[in-house]
Amino acid sequence: MAHRILTQNWFKPGYNTIEGYKKEGGFSSLRRVLAMKPDEVIEAVKVSNLRGRGGAGFPTGLKWSFVPKDSPKPKYLCVNADESEPGTYKDRVLMEQDPFSLMEGIAIASWALGVHTAYIYIRGEFLEQAEILQKAIADCYAEGIFGKSILDSGHRLDVYVHRGAGAYICGEETGLLNSLEGGKGWPRLKPPFPAVSGLFGCPTVVNNVETIATLPTIFRIGPKEYASLGAEKSGGTRLVCVSGHVNKPGVYEIPMNLTFWDLIHDEKWCGGIPGGRKVKAVIPGGSSAPVLTAEELHVAAEYEALKVKDNMAGSGAVIVMDETTCMVRAAWRISKFYAEESCGQCTPCREGTPWMERILRKIEEGHGEPKDLELLVSVARAIAPYPPIGLGTTICALGDAAAVPVQAFVMKFRHEFEQHIREHRCPFPHPFGQLAEEVVRQ
């Protein structure tokens, strides 16, 4: 295994208790940070080159520096534990295996940002995980990590778990804020950005679970060292969660220069494809990311390396499909998700997502006509033309998330779409792949 700085204690018995966490040196980073000035902490996070792990890869230190120093209003930290991007499950495993790194990270961020109230917004389906967090929070209060004066610093910090109730859109940071305020999870127009006007109209930082849970590591090994372990503009290591057709699906802490090809095939990592089959396609960063062909897998699983290929590191979800998988079926299933989850606020997304789903289903079911393919692409382009990523016409990036993958599938696997249309059927005996037949019968 490569150098692990975040997950080295995962799955060790007792590590996910507060005693076990302390035994491994837990909360020493918080002590170190409390001896620094808040501005120095923000500066150190900038130096570390930590990038947000929620999807957009925004530099964390820079985001923190947008919070106005002189605002008379309270400031809030919202930890995004909504984790609903299809394929993504790293934050869940992190919360199960290492809840106290998240707690320590919350305390570190709160000191740096002058926050006295932090909310962890966790998707409603993570009931057991919410219970784990609740217990961890109670332990932190009991140990003086949270409460009236964190580690006798004089800094007050209250931390609460807030459960969502089943809506993908609440992972989008402003949808999250509206949900936390007790409303529908409709995203807000930006600007103003949450750092200036977020929760209850106050300055708010929204960060992903992994982003926050990485902070103790940064201050343990030092921000310069952390930066040096990564790529030029992406410090440290990152978590990916691999699913689909691989021998060893799971959460892996990877170096920034690891390629998708090696991640999938190397014995150290996912150990190849079941049945010795060949890989056909890989979604590199959650279902919103453009699909990669087998030939494109020799790219590093890192923010900038993917960006120059008009792709994205996204949420770290790597979805692997072998040569027996139907690309039309895969595109349809992803499309169905966005059609269900569009919040209904913006017309192109509300109308376009179900339309794309219907066209894809029509083609997959063998009723497609040659003109459908052009229609499909034109509907997708009206929501967000691709490439590049980021030209969406909607308030939030759910529109892009729905439209970009469809265009990528058609662009890179056009021959499969055309074959469906020509032959009036799906040519694959098992559209989700041979393995889909095998696994559930074991």
């Binding site: 299809p86 529908k184 019968r441």
Partner: protein, 170 residues
């Protein structure tokens, strides 16, 4: 309108709501709507109209606003459901590992259409989107608790054990 709670339920609701409301600023009680709806569903199994009125009163908002929220999120039930809710994920990662087979198998075993409840009131079966457990696909949840690396046989055993539990309680 009839009271949604028994006296004892009302006491629990009042007590828990006090704790929930303490998490938010005095003038932002509406923020307690989602936790309040979870609480109601926890107590009653679903969220009747009268309970929404009660939630609105506590959270200093309108019943219309509470209803808007309750209908926006898929985890809230606005009519009675089965004793156990089985949500089967069929999103991409689960489908790549046989989720469609699993769902069809459960549908046949329980003899219900998607979204329906079995005649004995024991199970509501639903198709669900990604649950954040894709590395252990296929997965399902029973009452928001995970069952991972499912096979058809494991699904059978799960249903049988839930049925046995219910029979025992009778």
């Amino acid at each position: 309108m009839a009271a949604p709670f028994t006296a004892e339920q009302q006491r629990r609701f009042d007590e828990e709501m006090e704790k929930i409301l303490a998490r938010f600023p005095e003038d932002r009680k509406r923020a307690a709507v989602l936790p309040a709806l979870h609480l109601v569903q926890d107590m009653l199994g679903w969220i009747p109209e009268e309970a929404m009125v009660e939630v609105a009163r506590k959270c200093e908002t309108t019943p219309e606003q509470v209803r808007e929220v309750a209908t926006f999120y898929v985890m809230y039930f606005l009519e009675p459901k089965g004793k156990h809710v089985i949500d089967v994920c069929t999103n991409i990662s689960c489908s790549l590992r046989g989720a469609e087979k699993l769902l069809a198998h459960l549908q046949e075993k329980l003899g219900v259409e998607l979204g329906e409840t079995t005649a004995d009131g024991l199970f509501t079966l639903r198709e669900f989107e990604c649950m954040g457990a894709c590395g252990n696909a296929p997965v399902l949840q029973v009452d928001s608790r995970f069952h991972m690396d499912m096979t058809l046989e494991k699904a059978d055993r799960l249903i049988e054990s839930l049925r046995a539990q219910a029979a025992e309680k009778k």
